[in-house]
Amino acid sequence: MSDKAVRAIRFGMVLDHIRPGLGAVISNVIKNRVWSEGVTHPVYTGEGVSSSRMSRKDFVKLDGMHLELGSDALSEIAVIQPDVTVNWIENGERTQKRTARECIGDEIHTDLIECGNPNCIANYEAHGVYEVLDRESLRVRCRYCGTEFKAKYNGRL
């Protein structure tokens, strides 16, 4: 992403280095998580932008608010693509930069993971709740059946 694109937001978030095709998915995560709380800050998605690091990439900008470290939104983004670059912008300047993996909370509430136990209630009726055991490997433990497994995005959204 060019510096100009980052500067275009005065206060907000820029999610960068998103694999092409996942920008819309991550945009939906933010809309589902943030807009459902009655807030409608604009979310912009750039798709197929040229990038020196990864040839082509997507990016997502959230204008006017910050996502909190450990929030469900950032945890879900980490599940979708752990190495997304998360930038916090204030007064048009980047104040903080982390990978999505570093933003995961102690617990993830999400339907974007299938529990590693195929017979778990989380794969049928319950919304998944997973305790994060290791951020690097994304190893989690299901709240309901106790199964430990490596979290993997299930392709929903």
Binding site: N117, I121, A122, E125, A126, Y144, C145
Partner: protein, 329 residues
């Protein structure tokens, strides 16, 4: 026995400490010795039994325990036949309904793993008792087994316990978890490799330096019994195996059934210790039992007492959910 007033659900045996288990044994013993003295303890309380999977003992003993404590146990169902579950109603919706009907405690048996823990997230008021969630846990069975062992052996430590039969799909062999909290217990697993004790259970024991051995050859059974205090059988859980007609399912039925069987002859050859006891959570599958009928002719058979204790154990659990007896003393 329960660490706070805001969580008296019985979902997992892992939720109970060694002291909790000793408290449970204490109150259950007192109730067994004087159950008339507790006959009005839960007067006005209502139990709902929501059984999505088949059961005889777990269903009946919870109801009987509630009635003996003066409570009611009319709410619920013992089969989904004729219920709205057949119309696609969710577990959450059903739980909320029984909460509205005034259930103070809900005993849930459900085919999905984790359903009991999920139920605790749904209800607000009734205590949940896990009556068996899929292949996962059956904590009240573990607790009644603990009570029975203590009653017969007079201790919960320094025991050698053989688990044999279907250890992979059987929930009740998770008895290793509470027993592993007590010093000096040693476990022996004897099973066909297709139904051996799951790796995560063995990993749990390794992490806690609990001694265990694993065997697959049934010829060693008499030698194992000779050195054991308890032999705990688990029937082949065919209803949870890969389906008949699949390669894996057919292979399991050919090879696993009758692969490890405790008989009177095995016990005779073993010359067991005087305190030796044979346990089984029941039902025994008479088509292919892991314990033959003639074991009943030996003085070591304890599964009828074990089943009877199911009522007292559940009385102990229910009483503790509604009375802070352990805080008063």
């Amino acid at each position: 026995m329960f660490r706070g007033k805001d969580n008296r659900h019985v979902v997992s045996i892992h939720d109970f400490s060694k002291d909790d288990i000793l408290d449970f044994v204490d109150i259950t013993q007192r109730i067994k010795e004087n159950h008339a003295g507790y006959s009005a303890a839960l007067k006005g309380k209502r139990m709902a039994r929501l059984f999505y999977s088949a059961s005889t003992r777990t269903f009946e003993t919870h109801g009987e325990a509630m009635r003996r404590l003066g409570g009611q146990a009319e709410l619920g169902f013992r089969s989904t036949e004729g219920t709205s579950a057949k119309k696609g109603e969710s577990l959450a919706s059903t739980l909320r309904m029984y909460q509205r009907y005034g259930a103070d405690v809900i005993v849930l048996r459900h085919p999905r793993d984790g359903s009991a823990r999920y139920a605790t997230d749904i209800v607000n008021g009734p205590w949940i008792i896990n009556g068996g969630d899929g292949n996962n846990e059956h904590p009240t069975q573990n607790m009644m087994d603990i009570f029975t062992i203590n009653e017969k052996q007079g201790r919960l430590d320094g025991l050698t316990v053989i688990f044999f039969g279907d250890l992979r799909y059987g929930r009740t062999t998770r008895l290793v978890y509470p027993l592993s909290l007590f010093d000096g217990n040693r476990f022996v697993f004897l099973a066909h490799p297709a139904v051996s004790m799951p790796e995560h259970v063995k990993e749990y024991l390794r992490n806690r330096n609990v001694e265990f051995d694993e065997f697959r050859d049934p010829k060693i059974f008499p030698d194992l019994v000779h050195e054991a205090d308890i032999a705990y059988g688990s029937r082949n859980q065919e209803e949870r195996w890969p389906r008949e007609g699949t390669t894996e399912g057919d292979l399991m039925r050919r090879e696993v059934i009758n692969s490890v069987v405790l008989t009177k002859a095995v016990i005779k050859r073993a010359c067991p210790r005087e305190n030796f006891m044979v346990m089984h959570p029941l039902p025994r599958d008479m088509r292919a039992p892991c314990i033959t009928d003639d074991v009943k002719e030996t003085p070591y058979c304890w599964y009828d007492e074990q089943a009877e204790n199911g009522v007292y154990a559940r009385m102990g659990i229910l009483y503790s959910q509604f009375h802070d007896w352990w805080l008063d003393e």
